[in-house]
Each structure stands twice: as C-alpha cells, then as structure tokens.
Symmetry: C2
C-alpha cells in the first residue's frame, strides 16, 4: 500500500460556498485531510508521500484542452478585472441556450464551464488540482504494476466533466487514474464509485468506452445532487453500451440496502474481467456526514472495502468526498486496512 498526497493542499481554500440560499463556510476544506492523518498513522498505515510530477499529459488525456487552459488562466483574468472575491458563476447556458459559443470575457467563460454555484475557484485551485492529479497518476502506476495505492486527493474529482467543473471538483482524478492504467498497458479497467453522490464526471468521460467499466452506488439523483446524471437508465452509449452501471439508492438507505447494491457492483466488475480497479472512495456515506443521508457506520465502510478487496484486483483508491471531518481519518483507515 502506497499513499500519495499534496503537502500544500491547504492552499486551495475557498471563502465560502452557496448552499440553501446562503453563503456559508465550505464543507470541502483543508481540515478534512489534515485532521485525518493522525487516525491513519494510528491505524498503522504508511506515511503519505508526495507524488512524482509527470506533467499535464495524463490530465489532457481525459479533459478538454480549452477547459484546462481556462482553469489555468481563470484566476489571473478574474483578478485583472478587479474582482476581489473567489470566482463564482453569474450565468450559464440553460435549456434552449447555446453550448457552442466561445465567450471572450471571463464571466462568459465561467458559465461555459461551470455547473455548480458551490464550487468557487480561488488563487491556487488549479495548482492544487494539478498536484492532486499527479497523486492519482502515481497511484495508477502502482496499480498497473500490480500493487494497491491510495491517492489522498483534495479537492475531489469525480464530478469534473471532460470540459466542466462543479461539486468541488476541477480535475477528475479517478478518470485520470483509469486512463493512465490503460496507457500503462492494462487492457480493461473498472471504476467503482462508492461516494454518496453520483460520479457524473467519470461516467460522462467513459460513457462511450468499452474498455473502462464505470459502476456507481449513490443516492438517487431524482432527489439528490447532482440530479441531472446518475439515473439507472444510463447504460453507456455506442461501443460503451453496457459498460456503465448506476445503482441509485433512496435517501436514508442503510447497510441492508447498500450491501445488496454492493453485491451487484462486485459481480458486475467480476464479470467484466478487468486487469485493475479504480475506486472512487467517498466517506460521505457515513451516518454523520453533513451532506449525506445514508446510515453507514465506520464498520460498514470497512465491509465495503472488504468486498472490493475480495476482487483481488490491483487497486488505485482515489479520495472523493467525506465531510464529517472528525470521523474522516477513521473512515479512511477502515477503508484502506483491507488493502494494506
């Protein structure tokens, strides 16, 4: 088990986020990572290491180059116009409006790429997202070599689309990892997303791919974020048809319901005969998570990991959500222990 992290991840810190109509302190904050290190050490997990920098190519393998250019230039352009706060969207292309225009000004570009009012961009968002993706690459490289690894990424990634950001996510670390495994010689890769929220970005990026299976277990988007993707009738398209599986669960679901979906996910992945696995691990299925409604305990989170480890596939585990900061270290440790 190798663990990779970004030592200066705390440079990505937003002033606040819009939720329930008010501007409030962000749920996705540096304390999530920093507060988890103690419990991870106590559980005997290896010390997190900085990932080697391999550059932008693994990011561009799954993201639009114009989008990545936007992330890179957004903050200086925003500041050059005299804006003092974080970058938040003003307007976006709603139903009946055009997605094919290329606005010249910063507000127009923001709305072109953003799908969420609660994901501000601050000064170092791009740098930290880039560094987090390097962790995902490092974990993928370990998995492609037959080992397990954990990318302790922050900000998370699974909501980031090929050309769009939201849900605290800018670069899709899980997609970067899966594509990297393919580049490193894996013929078939499975992605299992056990975050409370649907991984709309990961699904979308691989939606027409037959060599990457994407399986999600998540709160039903008919009543939960991200609403507009993650429904059970989304099964992939073209040669990717059948290689996308959504297992939405009702809000408030507990272990009995969850385990049933997990069994389905595991058998689906086993049938796919993958060479390696990417796990999008969110701890927001935990009973006290402020953004979740499931009722899983830390013991159940360990049992999810037991089932996944039972696949005996080299696994790159990528951290997604988990906002019950006090319990995050224990939940991470419970999840990683079966792989360690």
């Amino acid at each position: 088990m190798h663990i990779f992290w970004v030592p200066n991840h705390a440079d990505h810190i937003t002033q606040g986020e819009i939720k329930d109509g008010i501007l409030r302190a962000p749920f996705e904050h540096p304390g999530r990572i920093d507060g988890a290190l103690g419990a991870m050490k106590a559980a005997g997990l290896p010390r997190p290491l900085e990932a080697p920098e391999v550059g932008i190519e693994p990011i561009l393998a799954v993201h639009d180059v114009g989008y990545i250019g936007f992330l890179n230039e957004a903050w200086p352009r925003w500041r050059a116009e005299g804006r003092t706060g974080d970058i938040v969207p003003l307007v976006w292309p709603g139903r009946g409006m055009r997605h094919d225009t290329r606005p010249l000004t910063i507000d127009g570009k923001i709305g072109h790429y953003c799908f969420d009012a609660g994901t501000p961009i601050c000064r170092d968002s791009w740098d930290i997202s880039y560094a987090s993706a390097q962790c995902a690459v490092a974990a993928a490289d370990r998995a492609a070599a037959g080992e397990h690894a954990f990318a302790m990424t922050r900000p998370p990634g699974h909501h980031a689309m090929r050309a769009g950001y939201g849900g605290y996510c800018f670069v899709n670390n899980a997609a970067v990892a899966a594509e990297r495994m393919i580049a490193e010689g894996c013929e078939r890769v499975a992605v299992l997303d056990v975050d409370y929220h649907h991984g709309n970005g990961t699904q979308s990026i691989f939606y027409e791919r037959a060599d990457v299976l994407v399986v999600n277990i998540h709160a039903d988007p008919i009543e939960e974020y991200p609403y507009y993707l993650g429904h059970s009738d989304e099964q992939g398209d073209g040669k990717g048809f059948g290689a996308n599986v959504n297992l939405p669960l009702a809000k408030g679901s507990g272990w009995g319901t969850y385990r049933h979906a997990l069994d389905t996910a595991i058998s689906t992945i086993r049938s796919f005969e993958a060479d390696a696995l990417v796990v999008s691990f969110g701890a927001d299925t935990y009973e006290d998570d402020p953004l979740g409604t499931f009722t899983l305990g830390t013991n159940h989170i360990g049992m999810i990991a037991d089932a996944i480890a039972g696949l005996r596939l080299p696994s790159a585990i990528i951290l997604e959500g988990g906002y019950a900061t006090d319990a995050l270290g224990d939940n991470i440790a419970a999840f990683l222990t079966p792989f360690a």
Copy 2:
C-alpha cells in the same frame, strides 16, 4: 397612451445578487419604478393605472405549464425545508448532463429551470411577476385596438425562456404581449428589443414562428450577458427562419453605431408588414447605466423612440432593464413622449 403598472411591485425585493463573485445589493430593485414616477408626471404622461386581471392563460400561452407551476410553488417548498434566505441555485445541468430529468426535490427543480445566479426568488416574486404580465396583456389589448400603451413592468421579462428564468426575469412580458396580440386578431406582430442586453427569452419563444418577427439591438454576447444566445447567426428555425434578426454591437458603442443598427431594425420591421409592434424597452443603453457600456444620452433614447414611432404601428411598450435609477424617469419620459 395608456400606462399600466403594479402598485405593490415593491413586494418583489431580493436580499442581494451574486456579481463579480460577491453578494451585493440588487441592481433590479423597487426604487427603479418608484423613482421614475415623478419625472414621468412632470413630462405630462398619463397616470399609471392598475391592469385588469385576465388570469393565467396569456402566461401559459408562452410558458411551459410545469415551469409556471414551479414558480408558483417554489417559495413555500423552499421555506418548508427550513431555508431562510432567497432561493438561489446550487447546481444545474451543464454540458453533457441531462435536461430531461424531473428532480423531485427543490434544489434539483431550481437548477432545472434557472440559468443565472443573480436572479433570486423571494416570497412575492411569482405574484408580482404574474401581476406584471397582466400589465403586458393590458398594453397588448390597447395596441391590438390600434392605440399605444406602456407596461411599466417590474421585474423585467425578456430574458425569461419558455421554461427558464434568469437575468432578473421570470415571466416574459414582451412574449406574453406579442402572443396576446395574435390571439386578439393581429396576423403579424413584430417585437423590437432595444434593451442593452439580448432578449434571449423572447427570441427563443418565437424562434420557429413566422408570424412573430423578433429584432434585437444589443451588446455583442461574445463579450456581454447573456453570452449563450443573441449572436448574429441566429436567424430563426423552420418556418421561422428569417424572422429572427440579431444586431449585436461592440461594448462601448455610441450613437453613431447604434443609429446604423436602428435603421436596419426599422427597415426590417417595415418589410415584415406587421399589424402591431411590441417594444422591449430597456434604458440600460444609457451612458451612466451601471450594467451597460453604451454611451447613449437621454436625447438619443428619445431619438430611438422617434424612429420607432415613425413606423406608425400601434405599439405595446414593455419596460425591461435600466439601472441608472436617478435617470430612469427621464429616460422613460424621453422614450414615451413620441408615442404620447
């Protein structure tokens, strides 16, 4: 000249709007209307009257019934969930996400319909929007009878789509007026939008219609709100092809440039041989408008009206934007005088 208004329009007042990344006092506020009444009276214009209530049908003639149901129920649902602030969106269907889902929960519904972070819904937004639309109907009825009328509507309407809101707009008053004229026997109606911003909603609602010509003169959306509609290549679709004309102008344009576009608009409308005219009048082309960049003076706004009045078409003039509150009354008076 008849003038209609909503005496209790001030009940629609939002706590603030997101602009430039910060929550600030709204530009679209009750003082716009209340501050204009004095200058209008001094100019000898008739006293504004309350419009007769004719019901929901003229609104449903141009808006989706599910959308209107949402506007009607949004506030009580939001409050029932314990939310204390105005209604603002959290997430919306970005590029690659689905527009055909029907979220069950309020945040999902908001993102389904909203395309703008600066258009909060407050307790009375629907009631006042409904009442404003009644003013538009009353003005349309006067125009269908061969007279001129002014609907002093607030909130404005031209950004509202058939099933979407933003740009301070919930119900498209200009579209309601144009459709009402058709219902009242006009065979061909022209809509001329001279607000600083493109009237994306009006364009969209009539985009496939041959009996309603829509002409917009506005700041080029490649660099100005609403960005994702209002480009010169949007010419209508199907039997409506050719009946949509966009005349985008560079930011900072002055009267010389504006007059040229106005000449084109006037001759386009003349060729269409309309029975009656709807004018979406925004005073945010004014040189001191905080949301505009054009350099027109009050005298130029009067000259726009002179040119339009020269068409000698019965006209329903609908108030859209105009955020230089101190000058709005003079600008309205300058615009209405050629019709009075």
